[in-house]
């Protein structure tokens, strides 16, 4: 049984290209400035392949599929 995955974006690398929202509209939408709003829930197994395509489709590799963790305290 594989670990639960969560969508994460590197906000510094992200320039609002928007390919991710086109490839995974079920979990990614764009805010009014073109930056991704990610669904924080774990990626369901049925969407995992599409999620990987979305990760690969980002031209700056800002999108990641990370293992689900608890939110960290901010530094």
């Amino acid at each position: 049984m594989s670990a639960q995955k969560q969508l994460k974006v590197n906000p510094i690398a992200c320039v609002g290209h928007g390919a991710c929202a086109e490839l995974l509209p079920e979990m990614i939408s764009l805010d009014e400035w073109g930056y991704p709003l990610l669904d924080p829930r774990p990626v369901p197994a049925a969407l995992e392949r599409q999620a990987r395509r979305a990760v690969g489709g980002c031209p700056v590799l800002a999108l990641r599929l990370a293992r689900l963790t608890q939110p960290q305290p901010a530094a």
Partner: protein
């Protein structure tokens, strides 16, 4: 030495695939230079642009492989297969074919690193990708120098058009980069833009001004 009188099929295929490869590579370079940040090709979804860039480069590799193999198979001049990747090992037109091998090697580096991009340092990937700016001119020189095909007529015009398109794209990109607001001044630029847009509240928030984009 220039011009080959023998009209054997492999030789024609080699020349044809060479021309197509040059066109494909030009298209790949154009997409890479022009489509940056939030740009897109009209009519195509955003994710299609990155896919196009990737797929065209893979197609170019296929065409180049055919281009090299058919040139080797055509027995009229002796070209060892290895000279496709090891530069300057062919007896026939050693120098110009060598350039082709150099360009192809650089291309392979770009493509292999891009295929394993997720597992390597981003800085290294970017550095290797910059080699594209070396690979295309070398490929261009190879195209012009190794056969009389591109040295006159329609094909020369095509080659010149490719070079001109790339040069124009580069200039456009450099001008855009020069106009880009440096990071430290970005938020100030956004605030200035917003200040000039008032009076009247921003009801929809959908006004996307150039300065707001990075």
């Amino acid at each position: 030495m220039s011009g080959i009188a023998a009209s054997t099929l492999p030789w024609y295929v080699s020349r044809a695939t060479g021309v197509v490869a040059l066109l494909l590579l030009t298209a790949v370079m154009l997409i890479g230079i022009l489509i940056n940040r939030q740009g897109r090709l009209p009519g195509l979804p955003r994710f299609a642009v990155t896919n196009l860039h990737r797929n065209l480069s893979l197609m170019a590799v296929v065409f180049i492989v055919i281009h090299v193999v058919t040139a080797v198979l055509d027995g009229y001049v002796s070209i060892p297969l290895i000279s496709g990747v090891i530069p300057f090992t062919s007896h026939y037109e050693g120098f110009w074919l060598g350039l082709g091998a150099v360009s192809f090697d650089l291309m392979l580096a770009l493509i292999v690193t891009s295929l394993v991009r997720g597992r390597m340092s981003q800085r290294l990937w970017k550095a290797v990708h910059w080699l594209a700016y070396a690979s295309w001119p070398v490929a261009f020189a190879h195209s012009i120098g190794s056969s009389s095909d591109l040295q006159g007529g329609l094909l020369l015009g095509l080659a010149v058009l490719c070079a001109a398109a790339l040069a124009a794209a580069l200039v456009w990109r450099l001008v855009r980069m020069a106009r880009e607001v440096p990071r430290a001044q970005r938020v100030g630029a956004v605030m200035n833009t917003l200040a000039h847009r008032r009076p009247g509240p921003d009801t929809t928030g959908r006004h996307l001004v150039e300065a707001d984009r990075r």
